[in-house]
Symmetry: C2
Subunit: 405 residues, 2 copies
């Protein structure tokens, strides 16, 4: 698996990192390379209507264990994000095929999701949402990339007809469980000295644009007491969201962007625009954090003689994974690494879409070095990648047994 | 005077405001119009080597009372900023000429400074600094405007040779005092319900660019406790500078620009750039505020696991005006408006350059509506403009007497 991941990197990365952006030539090259790896296996494979590639090893039961990942990357991405899921899944499928002489007790289906990252058209989880029936193709069809190329035309070039995308939902048939191994993309496991972790689910997200309106004024001639400084409101909120998050063990709140207008050295800030991204695995916690930030922003605005407006950029509910599969994953990690840890995923994953479709789902994380991803320096120790593969194999075995039962 | 100010506005403003940017055709048109106003007066007038226009009404003594302002404006500027000084000076000169039958006890010199605003080439107080001998022409000669036109060439088009600019210093000869009437450009007098104020001097300025370096990180996968958030440092400093300023009655501290990098909704801010502008009339206060902000920034950076860098953009020392002239100005305002108020000027003015040359100087402010300037809506009540003219006339009389004595 590691040798194959390196082979893929060799084929699809340049000096700035992985360039497997979905619907580009480099992505197609990665997928062709992947198809060559299937040649010697007793599997059927095809692209579904949304461009997801399905590899099926038929079992005694039609009930299917799904294992997945995505070969697409962000521009200048890492070698493991997504690709680890596909290549570890392939290795587990090979082992199962060998173990059961080509006919396992349940069907094994490996999926390479199309366009998890949404890097080119801004629509992430493209293929998995089509599978789950949560796609938004009517809204997405007007999307263009930075060169003005329409999503529809980019899809057609890859053999996908936009009007048929939602037929990918047919692949849900017989799906009994879904497993995905992924790098953590965060610093938690490394800070705990653990190679592997069990993912509780993907956090819900509330993402908002907040604008404070004050009064632009001359920095030299306007006394402090007569100012209506929009930046002061924003600064208070940027600090207060840390107190809001601090009340909940796994919650995060982030101000990622803050812009000042007119934004010149000699003017009190008349308008300040900021973004707020809040996440938690508990929908009630998320709702309370959102309400608390709104209330605080109104207090800060009033205290500074300013006004505030909120506008939702995006939100998604938390997606908790399946309790029985969480336990199996815990056991598999314990048996492999001696110690386990349960943690939520801040980033979204295709697994969240599969879970939203009602299919029992769990993910396993392998430690990321320095918590860095979406970057050419993204890395994981090779022995940890090996442990991840072993644990995924054990988890797959437990899950097959559960499906059969 | 008011009729003439309106005439000037009619001639040089468009729907966006005054367009008398120095070294442009509209500015030259304003100056030509102004020259026509001098035709019936017993005065000599000429441009000096820096483009300042001097109008001289010879008196019994060669010792000269200088009164000034500037006809140039920012783009989309107001009708009073600068022009009030020139046109009120002209009206006072007319009255003195009439009062003394063309031969006052001391010489009266009216000056229209060239390029106070620095709007086109970024060098404010151009003409007055040449007069004061504080010009920086060697550094300024490489300046270009946004179209790439060199300062040197723009000057030549207006009849000014850059290599001779510093000869403007010769105009200091016999200068005994300098007076300037200007709109406040701030909200203080309006908030006190006063038409006129005595300007204590121009505040010193410390202007810095501050950069906090933290660690860019994924907003979803990075727990709050593991973040090194550069924005948190900047937010703390943006709030703390208000406490620093609050310790001193007239001090101001402003964060006018704050920029976040990478500045996207899903990333903890790895780098934050901000500007800080600090002003006070007392050099010791200014120095202590600067030191306090630096120390605070280092504390905030350390507390957040970040680092901080400072880089000076610009600074200037405070320029207090002349004590005797402050008293005369106070009396003139009292006699005219019944009540006076002393206040420092946050914005710089040509008067600061004149004072730096060792010439006794004072300014008088007339109330600005809403404290707004550098904008087409800049305005002052006409009765206040009239009071300003009366008080300037009285101040000129007192100062002439003082010079003669």
């Amino acid at each position: 698996m590691i040798a194959e991941l390196k082979e893929l990197r060799q084929l699809t990365a340049d000096e700035n990192g992985a360039q497997r952006v979905a619907w580009t030539d480099t992505w197609l090259k990665a997928r062709e390379w992947y198809a060559t790896k299937l040649a010697d296996l007793p599997v059927e494979h095809h692209l579904d209507a949304a461009g997801n590639r399905w590899v099926t090893l038929a079992g005694e039961s039609e009930k299917a264990l799904l294992i997945g990942g995505h070969l697409d990357s962000v521009p200048n991405g890492g070698w493991l994000d997504g690709a680890l899921g596909v290549m570890s899944g392939l290795e587990v499928l090979r082992r199962i095929s060998k173990r059961y002489d080509g006919k396992p007790p349940v069907t094994i289906r490996l999926v390479d999701w199309a366009d998890e990252e949404g890097a080119r058209f801004g629509r992430s989880l493209f293929g998995s949402s089509a599978f789950a029936g949560t796609e938004s193709i009517e809204a997405d069809r007007v999307r263009t990339d930075r060169d003005g190329i329409r999503l529809e035309d980019a899809l057609r070039r890859c053999g996908i007809e936009i009007d048929r995308v939602r037929e990918a939902r047919a692949e849900q048939k017989n799906a009994a469980a879904y497993l995905e191994l992924h790098i953590e993309q965060g610093p938690v496991l490394e800070s705990l000295g653990l190679p592997l972790g069990v993912v509780l689910g993907t956090k819900g997200v509330e993402r908002h644009a907040i604008t404070f309106h004050g009064q632009e004024a001359h920095s030299g001639s306007t006394p402090m007491r007569m100012r209506r400084d929009a930046l002061a409101c924003a600064a208070k909120l940027a600090l207060y969201i840390r107190e809001i998050a601090g009340k909940h063990p796994e919650a995060v709140c982030t101000v990622g962007s803050l812009k000042t207008f007119p934004g010149i050295v000699t003017a009190v800030v008349g308008r300040c625009e900021m973004t707020l991204d809040q996440r938690d695995l508990d929908a009630a916690v998320l709702a309370s954090m959102y309400a608390e930030a709104q209330a605080a922003s109104a207090r800060f605005a009033a205290a500074e003689g300013c006004t505030v407006e909120w506008s939702r950029i995006w939100n998604i509910e938390p997606v908790p994974f399946h309790p029985q599969l969480l336990d199996y994953c815990d056991h598999a990690v314990m048996e492999t690494a001696g110690q386990s840890h349960r943690l939520p995923s801040g980033p979204l994953h295709d697994a969240a879409e599969v879970a939203r479709a009602g299919i029992p789902t769990v993910m396993m994380f392998v430690q990321s070095l320095k918590g860095i991803s979406h970057n050419k320096i993204e890395d994981t120790k090779e022995e940890h990648l090996e442990l991840g593969l072993e644990a995924l194999d054990k988890l797959a075995a437990k899950t097959m047994e559960w499906i059969r039962a």
